[in-house]
């Protein structure tokens, strides 16, 4: 037993001592060969952990990319609305007018502006702001005019949902409504509503507002679609009049 132990010790000692006396390169090569076999579990685990780490980094990168693309997409959607409005407007002559007064009985329903007949303003000309649709010229004086806005009860304009292409009528009731939308028509909250151009007065492509609520009504055919106007009438200080639109030059 004791002898066996001594022999075993000498055997192991010689094996352990041999690499020490080898040349450095041979020692390194031997070390590499043995480790590829003996440290196989560590290599596998390390490779797996590395793979997971790289995968995590790739996932993080992709998430960042997705976020960037989402932002870009949102920005492009906004741009699309602006572009559509600007595209339509590029062929029109605009006249800038300042808001000089409001009707005290209907403060958002009518605006008094400082441009009139002398500036080429006619009845029914379309009025808009940098945010979108405002209304139309209702009365024209020589040097000033009155604009009937989209906030005036009963005001109507033909409109289209730009996302779905569904046509309807925008009308001011208690709220601004997108009318004649059937129960089976699919509209989404946030959809942009624009003038459809199916009108003798208003050109198409002017942003009116966005759908903010859709409700099932008791009406047999149509549902209630509520719209938030793009322009805040009570904050307007200046507007633009389309001089060469569809409205024919008529006196008030």
């Amino acid at each position: 037993m004791r002898r066996q132990q001594i022999i075993l010790f000498i055997f192991f000692f010689i094996i352990a001592a041999t690499p020490v006396f080898l040349h450095e390169n041979a020692n390194l090569s031997l070390s590499r060969d043995i480790s590829s076999f003996l440290l196989f579990p560590f290599r596998t685990t390390t490779a797996f952990v590395e793979y997971l780490t790289i995968s995590n980094k790739r996932i993080e990168k992709l998430e960042t990319l997705v976020s960037q693309l989402k932002l870009e997409n949102a920005s492009l959607k906004d741009q699309l609305v602006v572009d559509t409005t600007q595209f339509e407007l590029s062929s029109y002559i605009l006249l800038k007018a300042s808001v000089i007064g409001r009707d005290p009985l209907n403060i958002n329903g009518y605006l008094h502006i400082d441009k009139g007949l002398n500036d080429g303003v006619f009845k029914n000309q379309t009025v808009l702001s940098i945010d979108g649709f405002v209304g139309k010229i209702r009365h024209v004086g020589p040097v000033n005019s009155i604009v009937e806005t989209i906030e005036n009860r009963g005001f109507t304009v033909s409109a289209i949902d730009i996302n779905t292409g569904i046509h309807g009528i925008i009308k001011k009731r208690e709220n601004l409504m997108f009318l004649y939308i059937r129960h089976n028509d699919t509209l989404n909250e946030g959809d942009s509503i624009m003038t459809s151009g199916m009108s003798e007065i208003f050109p198409k492509g002017i942003l009116i507002g966005n759908v903010h609520a859709i409700a099932e009504s008791e009406d047999m055919f149509f549902k209630d679609v509520y719209v938030t106007p793009a322009t805040q009438i009570n904050r307007l200080v200046s507007v633009y009049i389309i001089l060469n639109g569809r409205a024919l030059p008529t006196r008030d």
Partner: protein, 141 residues
């Protein structure tokens, strides 16, 4: 057989931690004191070799130191009465000799924190190994 596989498994698992706490040295000590001398020599050889490969400086030095100290302890074991005090004293001395020998041979740095941690963790590891291998927290000699 199960015990031998357990020692090798624990050795493999503890190898990445060996840079901080030398659990491998504790396992070798446990094997020397509790197991057959021939297996203890073989296990010390494998441990030294694995440390040489995992923390490569120059292949062979750790192996030589481990089997030499194992042989020394196997020789001394007959003259020692292993109670807790002599056990930890023997381990500490052999561990310090091992550290000093490697410092001389391959200029391995002497890390005092590593030495203290290894000595502190000695008994918990011994108890745990004893519990798993023999079903008791401390096997009587």
């Amino acid at each position: 057989m199960f015990r031998y596989l357990l020692y090798i498994a624990v050795l493999y698992l503890s190898l990445p931690l060996n840079g901080t706490v030398e659990i491998a040295a504790i396992i070798v000590f446990f094997v020397i004191t509790k197991e057959d001398a021939r297996f203890a020599l073989a296990f010390a050889f494998v441990t030294g070799l694995l440390i040489d490969l995992y923390y490569p400086v120059r292949l062979g030095y750790n192996t030589i130191v481990y089997i030499s100290l194992t042989q020394a302890l196997l020789y001394l074991k007959k003259f020692l009465v292993l109670n807790p005090l002599t056990t930890i004293a023997t381990f500490t001395v052999l561990y310090l000799v091992k550290t000093a020998a490697l410092n001389v041979l391959v200029s391995a740095p002497i890390d005092s924190v590593q030495i203290v941690l290894t000595v502190l963790i000695f008994f918990p590891i011994m108890f745990l190994l004893s519990r798993i291998s023999f079903g008791t927290w401390m096997k009587k000699q």
